[in-house]
């Protein structure tokens, strides 16, 4: 059989890939309680809600890994069970956002910053029932967050909604660029590597330095000239949706691990995941991108009379507060909770509700 050795070599190669992948999936299962095995066993962490189309956590479940335990409530949120009917005199706040709000690296529900806020507010207002709903979900863009507000949060009648937008919208700029620059071909459908492959994800995340461009080229999107009007429009719609439903809203700027005042090498290291997910931007481009979007958050807030918490300036960068480019460490979650609670109390944003519902 002429091809025997060729097939054997290819088979060995594929077997090696599979071996590495299986080992990484086992590691992920042990650490995070999630892997491709969970999907095979129909125990996926996330599922689409049939009514709203929103991707939420599988309701009333516990996802246990050695490092992180995620418990979901009946609404598919990483939050304690919430009674839709409000208890008289209670204070209810909802925090909307993406993985940073959900607490991608928070070891337990209680360590996410919305839960820490709840604990701090309960200390401040011991005579009240304070509930802070964690309505953050991995991968959510601003459009998803608006849908979360209208479909999930509104029915909970919160007194206040805090929005920490996150950076998932930024990846859209790279996708748009790819679509724009792709030749207008109409090929038959093709297969690509499944997105659950951990070997490729880990490889790419840990080798981003190899693909780092020393100077911007034609392949890199110029963040300074980027049209961000869609983002601003989304933000305005989100605010209008909350106003229409009579909910007071507070915006927060996005904090990040890498800062301009750090050593360039440290910036490179801390921005690794940001560059992985937003591969069409250089490090400088990411700085500009964040600054422009944070400015847009501040300006939109000012324009529509919405208070803005400047978390970017209140949470310092670096490895003490960030696990990667955007997600908080335990200390980061704590600082975020402190900053938000301080802002709410100092700006008397809770006073109205507390007075209104005083026993």
């Amino acid at each position: 059989m002429p091809y025997r050795r060729v097939f054997q070599a290819l088979l060995c190669s594929v077997a090696l890939f599979l071996l590495v992948e299986v080992m990484l999936q086992i590691r992920s299962q042990l650490r995070h309680g999630q892997s491709v095995f969970s999907a095979v066993a129909a125990q996926k962490m996330y599922q689409a809600d049939l009514d709203t189309g929103l991707v939420l956590l599988r309701p009333n479940s516990t996802f246990s890994g050695s490092e992180i335990v995620i418990r979901s409530n009946s609404l598919g949120l990483r939050s304690p069970e919430i009674d839709v009917a409000r208890t008289p005199g209670s204070l209810r706040i909802a925090v909307i956002g993406a993985s940073t709000v959900m607490g991608a690296y928070a070891a337990s529900n209680e360590e996410s910053f919305p839960a820490l806020m709840e604990a701090r507010l309960r200390v401040l207002y011991p005579n009240r029932l304070v509930e802070v709903v964690n309505a953050g979900m991995v991968g959510y863009s601003l459009a998803d967050q608006r849908r979360m507000l209208t479909h999930r949060v509104t029915v909970l009648h919160p007194d206040l909604v805090i929005v920490y937008p996150g950076s998932n919208d930024f990846a859209g700029y790279c996708r748009e660029k790819e679509v724009r620059t792709e030749p207008p071909r109409q090929g038959l459908p093709t297969l690509s590597l499944p997105n659950w492959l951990l070997s490729t994800e880990i490889l790419l995340k840990n080798t981003s330095g190899l693909r780092e461009v020393p100077v911007p080229s034609g392949d890199v999107v110029d963040a300074a000239k980027l049209d961000i009007s869609t983002y601003v429009a989304e933000l305005e719609q989100l605010i209008e949706s909350s106003h229409k439903r009579g909910m007071k809203i507070v915006l927060a700027t996005n904090a990040r691990a890498y800062r301009r005042d750090q050593e360039p090498k440290l910036q490179q290291q801390l921005s690794r995941t940001a560059r992985f997910y937003n591969h069409c931007f250089s490090l400088e481009g990411l700085h500009v991108l964040y600054e422009r979007h944070n400015l847009a958050i501040r300006e939109t807030g000012a324009l529509l009379g919405v208070p803005v918490v400047d978390l970017h300036n209140q949470i310092p960068g670096g490895t003490r507060f960030f696990v990667d480019s955007h997600h908080f460490t335990k200390q980061g979650e704590s600082v975020a909770a402190d900053a938000l609670v301080t802002f709410l109390t100092q700006h008397d944003l809770l006073g109205t509700f507390l007075a209104k519902t005083a026993p």
Binding site: F7, L11, C12, A15, L16, E178, L188, T207
Partner: protein, 472 residues
């Protein structure tokens, strides 16, 4: 279907398995390869598969009619018909917009502004390759050096064969059709060498061509005014090695695929930057294309025997430039090479007339000639790489702007450029030995090398993978 994709891997594996399963049924093997080739092409763009069919039918029928023609006139009409159809298709998709915009530009300078829009047509991938490949057949039949193909399936496979349909090598009918006429036995050693060739091609493309593009060439050509003359010069050198690694990498993959399937394709490169003259460069660079233009255009115009040889040379080189793409920069690129080749021929003739010996092929004089040829090629390629002639002129001007000192060379760029140079100048037999060593390794070691290489290459891939010559 990108070569660097899971889909291609699975497709090729399936073709390999079927090729093996049908090893004793050559006709069924050819049918399978034909279906596979059309599927491969349609994964890029299914709309243009009809063009491949059109070109195949026209040239097959023309070849048969030319062979059966009773008078030279009849033969000529069939040839003209095939040439008009194939070149017409090429002109429509590739050159019409350029022609229209050039005419509109000229008229605008004369104060006339016609209300004409360019069509902005999508360029069918591989059009320059499969049209020329099939035309070579008709031209050879017309000249009587090739017998007409009697099996339409063989001819269809010759035109659409998936390893060559996108970017060559432009395989002549007399090189490929005989392989389809007799049962090609599959040999284990050929399959293994084919696999190793493919691996070498991927390494050339991803670890060298793409890295040079990303770290050196793309930044320099995007904003040349931002960089020092040294950086721009290194980027021009870098582009020469990028395009060599890119295209010879593609050719290795194509030849490796064909070899693994039991077929042989022509060599397309012979260490081109060892050329001691520009004429010699074109005997080493994209050999299948340059020999096509030599045989069918230069000789067709009269070569060095009839007419003015310098005119024939200039026309051939302008056509070579224009073959790559429609643009004044490509015409200028071809014309520059044509002028240098004309000068080289004039000098050679003059030396012969004066009774002087030919220029030596060794020692320092040879070295300087190689270095000079490389510089002519590398610097003229600025026109090839730039978006248009104006941008090329800007690049040249910036190469003389000594006030700019920004030279942001990364270690990665320097290492890759140095390795590319070293690899290019290494004796070819060394590459052969490495391939042979790979073949002799135990299968588990081959598998491990494949896996490690794929992981390594994945770490280097940036953006959507494509080859430079897919754009032609």
């Amino acid at each position: 279907m990108s070569f660097q994709s899971l889909h291609f891997f699975l497709f090729f594996l399936l073709v390999l398995v079927l090729n093996q399963a049908l090893r004793n049924r050559f006709n069924a093997r050819k049918s399978m390869l034909l279906v596979g080739s059309y599927y491969f092409y349609m994964c890029w763009d299914w709309r243009f598969a009809s063009l491949v069919v059109l070109v195949t039918v026209v040239n097959y029928v023309a070849g048969a009619r030319i062979a059966a023609a009773r008078t030279p006139q009849e033969k000529r009409w069939w040839l003209v018909g095939a040439l008009t159809t194939c070149l017409g298709v090429l002109a429509y998709f590739k050159y019409l917009d350029f022609f229209v915009s050039s005419v509109v530009g000229v008229l605008a300078k004369m104060g006339i502004t016609p209300d004409v829009d360019v069509l902005s047509l999508a360029l069918p991938i591989g059009i320059s390759f499969f049209t020329f490949q099939s035309l070579s057949y008709v031209l050879d039949v017309y000249r009587g050096v090739e017998a007409p193909c009697r099996d339409p399936r063989d001819f269809a496979l010759f035109v659409a064969f998936f390893p060559t349909v996108l970017a060559g090598p432009i395989t002549r009918a007399r090189q490929f059709l005989p392989q389809l006429a007799t049962d090609q036995k599959l040999e284990a050693s050929q399959a293994e060498i084919g696999l190793a060739l493919m691996l070498r091609g991927f390494i050339k493309k991803i670890a060298f061509a793409d890295v040079l593009a990303m770290h050196l060439v793309s930044p320099a050509f995007a904003e040349p005014s931002q960089f020092s003359p040294l950086f721009l010069l290194l980027a021009a050198y870098g582009y020469s090695f990028q395009i060599y690694m890119d295209f010879s990498g593609y050719t290795d993959i194509a030849r490796g695929m064909a070899k693994a399937l039991g077929f042989e394709l022509v060599e397309n490169f012979n260490r081109p930057y060892l050329a001691h003259s520009v004429s010699n460069f074109w005997q080493r660079w994209h050999i299948s294309m340059s020999s096509f233009f030599r045989d069918y255009l230069f000789f067709g115009l009269g070569g060095s025997k009839y007419g003015n040889v310098y005119f024939n040379l200039m026309l051939t080189f302008v056509a070579i430039g224009l073959w790559h793409d429609a643009g004044w920069n490509f015409i200028a690129y071809g014309a520059t090479h044509g002028l240098v080749v004309c000068f080289e021929r004039w000098r050679r003739n003059r030396r012969a007339m004066l009774g002087q010996s030919p220029l030596p092929d060794r020692g320092w004089p040879w070295f300087w000639r190689v270095a000079l040829t490389f510089h002519i090629v590398a610097l003229s390629r600025v026109m090839f790489r730039a978006e248009d002639l104006g941008k090329a002129a800007d690049y040249y001007a910036d190469m003389l702007n000594f006030a700019q000192s920004n030279t942001p060379l990364s270690i990665m760029a320097l290492l890759t450029l140095a390795s590319s140079v070293i690899l290019h100048y290494l004796p070819q037999r060394w590459a052969g030995r490495v391939l042979e060593r790979f073949r002799l390794l135990p299968v588990w070691a081959q598998g491990a090398i494949l896996s490690m290489s794929v992981y390594g290459l994945m770490a280097l891939v940036v953006g959507k993978p494509s080859f430079v010559y897919f754009g032609f």
